[in-house]
C-alpha cells in the first residue's frame, strides 16, 4: 500500500503538446502541395523534391506529433514529467518548425540553409528526447512500453545525427565515399528503429487500454529488442562488414518478419475486444496495421525478386498507410481526451463530454478521405498521371483533419473561459 500524493500534480499544461499537434498537419499540407506541383518527382527516390516531401512527413508530421505525444505520455506511463514543460516545448517547437521548413525548402531551392536547418532539427528533437530518455532510464525496467521507448528514442537521436551528416553533405555538395551506407543506415534507423519501435511500444500500452483487448504476450514484448538487433545486423551489412546477397536477403526478411508479426498480432487484438464498438480510431488502427503487412509484402518482392522502382510503393504504404494512419487515430483519441482532462482538472464538472470535442461524424468523413487518398496514391504507382488527383485528395484529407482539430481546440478555449462551477460535493474545497 502506498499513498502517492507525490509530484503527479504537474501534468504538462495543454499548450505544451497541443502546439505540436496543431502545427503538424500544416507540414503534411505543404507536402501535398509539393506533390500536386511536381508529381513526377515522387517516382524518383533520390529527387530532392521527394526527399523534401519524405521529411515533411517523417519530421514535420511524425516527428512533431510524437514529440507532443511523448510529453503527454511520460506522466501517464512512467509517472514522470519533463522539467519546465512549457519552456522546453516552446524552444523545441520553434526549432522543429523552422528546421523542417528550412530543410524542405532548402533541399529544393536554397542549399545554403540546409546545414543550419539540420542543426536546428537536431536541437529541436534533442530538447525533448534527451530529457525524456534520462527520465525513462531511471524508471521501471519491467515495463515493455518504457523499454521500447528507450530504444526508439536512442534510434531517433541517432537518425537525426546521421541526418545532420547527410544535410551537411547536401549543403556543400560534397559526398563521402560512404555516403550511401550512411543513407541506408539513416533510413533503417529512422523507419524501423524510431518509427516502428515507437509505434509498437505505444501499441503495447494503448491498444489494451483504449480498446480493452487482451494484452500483448511476453514474447511480443521482446520485439523492440529484436528489431534493435536486426538494425545492428543491417548496419554491418550496409557498411560492408558483412557482404553478399544472402546477408541482404536475411536482413530484409528479418525486418519483414518483425513487421508482419506486429501487424498480425495487432490486427488480431482488434478482433478480441470486450466491447466491440467501432469508432474511427479503430478503423485508423486497422488501416495502419494492414498497410504495414502490405509494406512487408512489397519489401519481399523488392528484395527477393529484385524488382526495381518499388521505393514509391514502400514509401506510400509505410509512411502514409502505416505511419500517418496510426498518428491520425492517435490524434483523434488524444485531443478530445486532453481537452476534457484539462477542463475537468480545474474542478469543473459541468463540462462537455469527450465526444463533444471531436464528433464521430467529422472524424469518420475525414477517415474516408484519407482512405481514398491512400488508394489513389497506390493506383498512381501504375498510372502516374493520377498522382495529381491523389495529391489533391491528400490535401483535402489533411485540411479536413486540421479543421477537426481546430474545432476541438476552439471548444476547449471557449469552455476554459467559463467561470469554474464547483460540483455539489466540492464546496469544502
Amino acid at each position: 500500500m502506498f499513498s502517492s500524493n507525490l509530484s503527479l500534480d504537474q501534468a504538462p499544461p495543454l499548450s505544451a503538446p497541443l502546439r505540436f499537434f496543431l502545427t503538424a498537419p500544416l507540414f503534411a499540407i505543404i507536402a501535398s502541395i509539393f506533390i500536386i506541383v511536381n508529381p513526377e518527382a515522387m517516382f524518383m527516390h533520390k529527387d530532392l523534391m521527394t526527399i523534401a516531401v519524405v521529411h515533411l512527413f517523417t519530421i514535420g508530421y511524425f516527428g512533431l506529433i510524437m514529440l507532443g505525444a511523448l510529453q503527454q505520455m511520460l506522466p501517464v506511463l512512467a509517472g514522470v514529467n519533463l522539467p519546465r514543460p512549457v519552456v522546453l516545448a516552446t524552444l523545441s517547437h520553434i526549432l522543429m518548425v523552422l528546421g523542417t521548413l528550412g530543410l524542405s525548402f532548402g533541399l529544393i531551392y536554397f542549399h545554403s540553409i540546409i546545414m543550419i536547418s539540420s542543426l536546428m532539427l537536431f536541437a529541436g528533437f534533442a530538447i525533448i528526447l534527451l530529457p525524456s530518455l534520462l527520465l525513462l532510464l531511471k524508471g521501471d525496467f519491467q515495463n515493455p512500453t518504457i523499454n521500447g521507448m528507450r530504444i526508439a528514442i536512442v534510434f531517433g537521436l541517432l537518425t537525426v545525427l546521421l541526418g545532420v551528416h547527410l544535410g551537411l553533405s547536401y549543403s556543400n555538395y560534397n559526398f563521402s565515399v560512404l555516403h550511401q551506407s550512411f543513407v541506408d543506415l539513416h533510413i533503417a534507423m529512422g523507419t524501423m528503429g524510431w518509427i516502428l519501435v515507437l509505434v509498437i511500444s505505444v501499441a503495447f500500452q494503448v491498444i489494451p487500454m483504449f480498446y480493452v483487448t487482451p494484452k500483448f504476450s511476453k514474447f511480443c514484448m521482446k520485439w523492440p529488442f529484436l528489431i534493435a538487433g536486426i538494425i545492428l545486423f543491417w548496419g554491418l551489412f550496409v557498411f560492408e562488414i558483412f557482404t553478399g546477397r544472402v546477408v541482404q536477403i536475411v536482413g530484409v526478411l528479418l525486418f519483414v518478419v518483425a513487421m508482419s508479426a506486429f501487424a498480425s498480432v495487432g490486427l488480431k487484438r482488434f478482433t478480441q475486444r470486450k466491447r466491440p464498438i467501432a469508432d474511427t480510431t479503430v478503423w485508423y488502427w486497422r488501416l495502419s496495421l494492414g498497410s504495414l503487412l502490405l509494406t512487408a509484402l512489397v519489401l519481399i518482392a523488392k528484395t527477393v525478386l529484385v524488382l526495381d522502382g518499388l521505393e514509391y510503393l514502400v514509401g506510400v504504404l509505410f509512411g502514409f498507410g502505416f505511419g500517418v494512419s496510426v498518428l491520425n487515430g492517435m490524434l483523434y483519441k488524444i485531443i478530445p481526451f486532453l481537452s476534457w482532462f484539462h477542463l475537468s482538472a480545474t474542478g469543473r464538472f459541468d463540462i462537455p463530454t469527450m465526444r463533444d470535442f471531436l464528433p464521430e461524424k467529422g472524424a469518420k468523413r475525414q477517415f474516408y478521405l484519407h482512405l481514398v487518398a491512400l488508394i489513389a496514391l497506390l493506383i498512381s504507382f501504375f498510372i502516374h498521371e493520377l498522382l495529381v488527383v491523389a495529391g489533391i485528395v491528400l490535401l483535402l484529407s489533411f485540411l479536413y483533419l486540421w479543421f477537426n482539430l481546430i474545432q476541438a481546440t476552439k471548444l476547449y478555449v471557449q469552455e476554459s473561459k467559463k467561470e469554474p462551477v464547483m460540483a455539489g460535493g466540492m464546496s469544502w474545497n
Binding site: S3, L8, K274, A345, G425, N429
Partner: protein, 86 residues
C-alpha cells in the same frame, strides 16, 4: 464499513474510467469513500484528485489496482482506511 462506493472500471476503454470517476466524485460525501477497481494505475486521475481536495491510497496487484479515494479534510475516514489497508 458500509460507506463504501464501489466502482469497477476494469472493462471500460480508456479514458472512460476517468470520466466515470470524475462523475462519481460528485457523489462522495464526508464519512464515505470510493473504492475503485482498475486494470492499471490511473495516473491521470491523481492530479484531478489532489487539485480538488481529495486524498487517496493505492493497492497494487499483479494485473489490477485498487484506489481508495476520500475527502482530504475527512481525517476520520482517512484513519479508518489506513487501519484497514495496513
Amino acid at each position: 464499513m458500509n460507506k463504501e462506493i464501489f466502482v469497477d472500471v476494469r472493462e471500460l476503454p480508456a479514458p472512460e474510467p476517468l470520466e466515470v470517476m470524475v462523475n462519481t466524485l460528485g457523489e462522495l460525501e464526508f464519512g464515505a469513500y470510493i473504492k475503485m477497481h482498475h486494470r492499471q494505475m490511473p495516473n491521470m486521475l491523481f492530479p484531478i484528485l489532489t487539485r480538488n481536495g481529495y486524498g487517496y491510497f493505492v493497492q497494487k496487484g499483479e494485473d489490477e489496482v485498487f484506489v481508495y479515494i476520500y475527502i482530504k479534510k475527512d481525517k476520520q475516514i482517512k484513519k479508518e482506511l489506513e487501519d484497514v489497508l495496513k
